[in-house]
Amino acid sequence: MIASYYIVYALAALAVGVLLDRYGAHATMPVGIAITSVGCLIFAQGSLAAGIGGYVIQSLGAICAFVGSSYVAARYLPARTLALFVGLTQCLGMAGAAFGSKPTRILIDPNGSFHIPWQTVWLGFGVIGVCLAVATWFVMPRDTGDSTAHHGHLSLGNLLKPFRIIFGNPQSWIAGIVGGLLFVPTTIGALGWGASMLSKGEHTTMAFAASDVSMVPIGWVIGCPLLGWISDKIGLRKPVLIGGAVVLLAASLCALYIPAGVMPRYSVALVMGIASGAAMIPFSSMKEVNPPEVKGTAAGVMNFLVFGTTGVMSPLVSALMVGGDTDSMALFHRAFMPLVVGIVIAIGLSFCLRETGWKAQKQG
């Protein structure tokens, strides 16, 4: 079920990338935001069918969010700040995932001072979305994308051409797989299974486990812009990518093999999150190893490969969790082994990635 969601999401990200390249962000982004808002308004109708339908429509619109943000950063902001802005985009997303639900909880809390019906909350979400769509429509540069010059008339061959360029480039595959392998230790490992590992394997209390794991997204919020900024500052991608991946490997091994309580509280989870910021560096490399006229499609392909990696690794870890003694760390050591091996492979592959920071461009 979750795996199929990842597949649909990954395929839709490819479509959004092509739309951005052909028609530009001014035509695409306000529509994506408007679709998401309409999903909220449908959800607000209150019935179960409206809830399911609204949720699906929201998800469809939401696919534009990350691919569109990285397209706008790559298209309209200086090349020297790309990694910083891609990192800041992910930072805002993680902040939304970690803290975005708090105000909603306060508003609908039956014992709270607001006590607003949940349908009204969705109505509010819809109105906020419509405002955001209108603001984006006004602010976004009126640019039709690179379509006429580079993409030719609308035909199946021309629609597939950007994919042939990107998938025909081995560097794209390296960037996508490295990004995916550096994502899963935190998404599947720490956020998916971390709390149960700490409470069952390490025998900590559930409250301790939950608050320790919640340090990981905070680490992301710090690490994504920080590592991007360092990479832009020094003009190199690979040292930051490899350095971050090595720290991620060390932190993951600490989390698995050093008993809870030895290291200072929160430190391992926080360092793991910060080092995971390295996973955002290949998003910039992906754009830079491919021609500029396919940057939207490249962002979509990057999402596709990262979600594809998650879609493969997630059931693998779940399968390894079955049939073992859930009260021992040995089970978690076994089930997390693919994630650890994945980081090692990512470090190896990173050495094969072409250096695309501005310092290398200048010399080349």
Binding site: Q58, V72, P78, S101, T104, R105, F125, R142
Partner: protein
């Protein structure tokens, strides 16, 4: 980067920019920020069904969004 891709003139909404600028331009940063805000917003609304699960179960019976 070729010379034809550089543009240092201030952007106007409604004008088609020639290429990727070399300096930070506030209007373009705002355009990016609105998209990033959308990314924040979609995460916030996607986590909303989870935190109103009690209310949704009450309204819909035992079925809820997985």
């Amino acid at each position: 980067m070729s010379a034809s891709q550089t543009s240092n003139t201030a952007p106007l909404p409604g004008s088609a920019p020639a290429g990727q600028p070399q300096t930070i331009q506030p209007l373009y940063v705002l355009a990016w920020f609105l998209c990033a805000l959308f990314y924040f917003y979609q995460y916030a609304i996607r986590s909303a069904p989870g935190i109103m699960q009690d209310e949704l179960t009450q309204a819909w019976g035992n079925s809820h969004l997985g």
